[in-house]
């Protein structure tokens, strides 16, 4: 009988086991150490963070898998999405719900357009020089950051309250929370499943997955791979922008946001394995949980947030030492 499990390579089976054991360990530690309620809150925070990181990381992973470009501008896309969304949400003359939807639509569309122009105009001529692509996205990220800073100023923007429907309170683990957090988690899950369906159940998804395996062969079969590349780039940048807009009612918008999430996303993609979609999804949850638990741990036991700040990077180093191509990456 062919099941998901039997189709896995031994390495991936081991990775799944590692992930399950690690997450169980994290949950056990937090339960034993913080008590039931605090542990629940921590885990909730971790999943929330994981979902946000996933939105940036999935784009990074898709783009890397297909185009072999590590897009350092992904953080800048998140930033642009957040600021533009903020602008639209704040200044549009309409009801709250319309403004919210307009912010999401406007930000995502703008960033998707930027992504399209960037791929077609700047990255495409450089496919023969892969190193330069990495470096170029690096430079572009700096330019985007500068533009945002010049247009919107250096001061961080305060969080805007979400539409009343999403602003209601609910109680979870004895903590009163805004429904908006659930919305973010739902959005992340929806995207996770949506992209999964796109990749596995549609024709374009088959082409994308084939392109990850061997772009030249796909081209030889008469499919315009370059156009698919552009599409994936647009999809990736739009996902990052969506993450940025989702952050606005939750954390506001700051200039550092882009780089923070970029580093997290890079860690996620490296842990999950470059170009592996399931790896990215699993790794974002793992990274979110790790970060949240480490934060809580250092809050309760140490005076300083060092553990929280370095935990993710330590996790990445540990994973790379165990499996040099990430948990679900293609082996050597």
């Amino acid at each position: 009988m062919q099941t998901y499990w039997t189709n896995l390579t031994p390495q991936h089976r081991r990775s799944w086991l590692l992930v399950v054991v690690y997450v169980a360990l994290l949950l056990a530690i937090s339960w034993l150490d913080f008590g039931y309620n605090t542990a629940g809150q921590t885990v909730f925070r971790g999943i929330l963070l994981g979902m946000l990181v996933f939105l940036v990381a999935s784009g990074l992973s898709l783009i890397f898998g297909l185009l072999d470009v590590l897009n350092f501008a992904q953080g800048a896309f998140l930033l642009i999405g957040a600021y533009v969304g903020y602008d639209i949400y704040q200044s549009l003359d309409a009801s709250v719900e319309v403004r919210f939807l307009a912010a999401i639509g406007g930000g995502v569309l703008l960033v998707a357009a930027i992504g399209a122009v960037m791929e077609a105009g700047l990255i495409r001529p450089l496919y023969e020089r892969p190193i330069f692509q990495i470096v170029l996205t690096f430079g572009l990220a700096a330019i985007f950051l500068d533009f945002v800073e010049r247009i919107y100023g250096r001061n961080p923007k305060q969080p805007l309250s979400p539409p009343p429907l999403l602003n209601e309170k609910f109680t979870l683990f004895q903590q009163s929370l805004s429904v908006y957090r659930l919305f973010i988690i739902g959005l992340g899950l929806a995207m996770m499943i949506g992209v999964y369906i796109l990749l596995n159940r549609t024709r374009i998804g088959i082409i994308i997955r084939a392109g990850v395996q061997d772009p030249e062969m796909v081209q030889a079969l008469g499919i315009n791979v370059r156009r698919v590349f552009t599409l994936v780039f647009i999809l990736g940048s739009a996902l990052a922008a969506l993450g940025g807009i989702a952050l606005v009612p939750y954390q506001g918008a700051t200039l550092e946001m882009g780089n923070q999430f970029l580093i997290l996303a890079i860690v996620v993609v490296v842990i999950g394995g470059m170009g592996s979609y399931e790896g990215t999804a699993v790794a974002s949850i793992v990274v979110g949980l790790t970060r949240a638990v480490a934060e809580q741990l250092s809050l309760e036991h140490f005076d300083a947030p060092v553990l929280a700040e370095t935990s993710i990077l330590l996790l990445m180093i540990a994973v790379l030492l165990v499996q040099p191509s990430g948990l679900f990456g293609r082996g050597e």
């Binding site: 001529p125 020089r129 990495i134 580093i263 140490f302 005076d303 300083a304 040099p324």
Partner: protein
């Protein structure tokens, strides 16, 4: 070129073989290095030149005056040029893309001054021996079989240097030497772990490692060691010979000259390294690592060696950079991504894999930045008094957009132009440009009249990063070999063409 040919022809006529060989090597030394020597001479006289031009003193009593200011700026630019050269050694010559080079740069500043300022006097000897032991143990444990001697010899020399203490505490030089040892240890640890990773994973790993140390240096937990975000102040711990504080006896000038000497040594060392057999091997590894391994080279060892070498140069640059810091503090910024990205930019803009490229770019960009930051410019709202600036900008952006999108647009343009040849293709592009610009102007016309347009006074300091980014994108897109690389290629192609023409002329009759 004419001179070269004449000189070598003259030498060829010398009868005595020994004399001829001597003359030849002398001629080669002079002909290949006269330009570098000239540059060093200019650098050496630079304070005096600035002083003459601006009418300030070379060694002023107080830290004011153009000459004193430019001495420190030039010195900082030279130090960062050394950093860029070491990055180029990794990236341009060995093909290792590390995003963690700032780690070594920061290690120089932090290790030296933590040892000097924060370690108790009575423990300094013990700290010294402990670090030494760790490094030597690492050198043995990493099992560098082929040339372990190089490492051990280096360690031995430093050991002798270190174990002759003449003061109860540690001198600055000993601390700096320990920083070098620490940097070697860091290279060994990170190299052994990371060099086995492939391509992008290696880059990511180095990024994470450097970022981690940046977070650690910035974090409040270790405030009593690193000084957290305020940085580690070291005040008057610098030895008299290396103190750039401008005083009447010319200590800043002296430090400036020390910096030049350091720069020259680094340049010569890197050139020597690249011209040695090891240098040939690392270039071979850049070109094709599999092949180098198949031939029988232990590529891992050569990469590690290059990493150590580049790391040591970066560390020493870090020490000098801290010495030149105006506020006498080691800032955590030294470990930040900035000091990885800057050398990367300098390398790319100057020319990847050229010896002088990073230096040209680093000096040009850093001095240019300093100059522009101290000036203000008035941006006129009209270009040449004819077109409003924003309209000009719209046209320019439209042109650039079409230029960058030309590959995508080509099929469409072909369809429009048909078989009309070159001129109708050009016409089609022109028409496209007019349409795009007109659209931009119409949209812009809706927005702009609301703005109050005036001649704007620009403080360039805000614009510099943007400018740098744009220069960088243009260089990456249009000048893939960088400034010096393109220059070299131009002359080489010219020479080849001439040779071809000469050959044809010989064949013709």
């Amino acid at each position: 070129m004419m001179i070269e040919r004449t000189v070598y022809r003259t030498i060829d006529r010398i009868g005595d073989p020994a004399l001829r060989r001597a003359a030849e090597s002398l001629a080669r030394l002079v002909l290949e290095n006269w330009f570098y020597a000239l540059v060093v001479l200019v650098l050496w006289q630079f304070p005096a030149i600035v002083a003459d031009l601006s009418g300030s003193e070379v060694t002023p009593r107080r830290p004011t005056g153009e000459s004193a200011f430019w001495q420190s700026e030039m010195a900082r630019a030279l130090v960062l040029a050394c950093l860029a050269m070491s990055y180029n050694l990794l990236f341009g010559y060995n093909g290792i893309i590390s995003f963690g080079h700032a780690l070594f740069f920061g290690a120089g500043g932090y290790i030296t001054f933590i040892l000097l300022a924060r370690v108790d006097q009575s423990y300094q000897q013990e700290a010294l021996i402990a670090v030494l032991a760790v490094v030597l143990a690492l050198a043995i444990l990493t099992r560098i079989t082929a040339r372990r001697l190089v490492t051990l010899a280096l360690g031995g020399v430093l050991l002798v240097l270190l174990l002759v203490p003449n003061t109860p505490g540690m001198t600055f030089y000993q601390a700096a030497a320990l920083a070098v040892l620490g940097s070697i240890g860091l290279s060994l640890i990170s190299g052994v772990v990371t060099l086995r990773l492939r391509g992008i994973y290696f880059t990511m790993f180095t990024l994470a490692l450097a970022e981690m140390f940046f977070v650690l240096a910035k974090s409040g937990t270790f405030r009593n060691v690193t000084g957290a975000e305020d940085g580690l102040g070291f005040g008057d711990l610098l030895p008299a010979a290396l103190n750039p504080t401008p005083t009447a006896d010319g200590s800043r000038l002296q430090m400036y000259r020390v910096t030049i000497v350091f720069f020259v040594i680094v340049f010569l060392a890197i050139r020597r390294y690249l011209n040695s057999p090891v240098g040939r091997v690392i270039v071979a590894i850049r070109e094709n690592e599999e092949r180098a391994r198949t031939i029988g080279y232990n590529t891992f060892f050569y990469k590690l060696l290059t990493m150590i070498f580049a790391g040591v140069i970066a560390t020493l640059s870090g020490v000098l950079f801290v010495i030149w810091a105006t506020d006498k503090r080691v800032h955590p910024e030294m470990l930040s991504l900035k000091f990885t990205v800057d050398p990367l930019l300098h390398t790319l803009i100057g020319g990847v894999g050229t010896l002088t490229g990073p230096v040209v770019a680093a000096l040009g960009l850093i001095l240019g930045e300093t100059y522009l930051r101290n000036e203000t410019f008035t941006l006129e709202t009209e270009v040449l008094g004819l077109v409003p600036l924003w309209q000009f900008a719209v046209g320019l952006i439209a042109a650039l957009l079409i230029l960058f999108l030309r590959r995508t647009l080509r099929p469409a343009i072909r369809r429009v132009a048909g078989d009309g040849g070159r001129w109708s293709v050009l016409g089609a592009y022109l028409a496209l440009w007019i349409v795009v610009s007109a659209a931009g102007l119409v949209i812009g016309g809706q927005v702009v009249p609301d703005l109050d347009l005036q001649d704007e006074v620009f403080d360039v300091s805000d614009l510099w990063d943007l400018f740098l980014g744009i220069v960088f994108v243009i260089v990456v897109m249009l000048l893939p070999h960088g400034i010096v690389g393109t220059w070299n290629r131009f002359w080489i192609t010219r020479r080849i063409r001439r040779m071809e023409r000469a050959l044809q002329r010989e064949k013709a009759p």
